[in-house]
Symmetry: C2
Subunit: 125 residues, 2 copies
Amino acid sequence: MRRKNLDLATLELVANTFKILAVPVRLLILQQLQNGEKSVSQLCGDIATSQPNISKHLKILYGASLVDKRQVGNSVYYEITDPLVHKLCDLVCSGIQKQLNRKIRVFSTLSKSQPKKSKTGRRVS
Amino acid sequence: MRRKNLDLATLELVANTFKILAVPVRLLILQQLQNGEKSVSQLCGDIATSQPNISKHLKILYGASLVDKRQVGNSVYYEITDPLVHKLCDLVCSGIQKQLNRKIRVFSTLSKSQPKKSKTGRRVS
DNA sequence: TAACTATATAACCATACTATTATATAATGG
DNA sequence: CCATTATATAATAGTATGGTTATATAGTTA
């Protein structure tokens, strides 16, 4: 599959999207929003950090068009704009999973070849 | 589609992967490697930054298992470990594309409704 | 072994970014 | 109009990170 080379400006946009997703608290927020909108105070109930911190990160997510917002009375409800976010996280997760599996495979190979067994087949400490 | 909530530790892993991809130079490197391995000096020829900088970023990519390396004589060849990287970039690009399209649509709607035309149908400055 | 090439590391600076605390703004209810 | 609730902003401090320059390491060749 041939892929076009992106110019620096475009890569900077891409990098910027990744940067937005590179902060655990923001992923927590997006995770909380994955099944529908939530208000700031609801998010504060779910995530262990200060309210100003949550508001700040929401602002960043909003600035990147990753979430929309809508005000109802006193409250502001945020929701995810584009399911892209979850696709990205899923992909990364699957990548991490693969890496883990590789490590587990290596480890189990090592532990199969190394351990000395007694004649009964039981492991020996 | 129901999705499991990831614990903080896992989200930190995910965030970390995103962080690695959040730097334009690193994306440039990965882009250069998308059609096969290249040595550090080849990368230096393609990317406008210092050799130590490239080596440093390669080390980071290697540490994250995003690239493998192999030494041949004096040179070290790096290659991409997992096509995941490009899938991620493609997704982000498509997201950016969608945003752009949205903006273009809005813009063209505005410019259709606003401009005053002269009786000849030409635009008026 | 000396000179040369390729890559990696170290030290440094400048910048950017996150989390906290305190405060401001805005909507609601009495 | 005041008190309360919900959200946003400002200021600060601490940390992390990218890029540069200089230097070290290691392989190659004469």
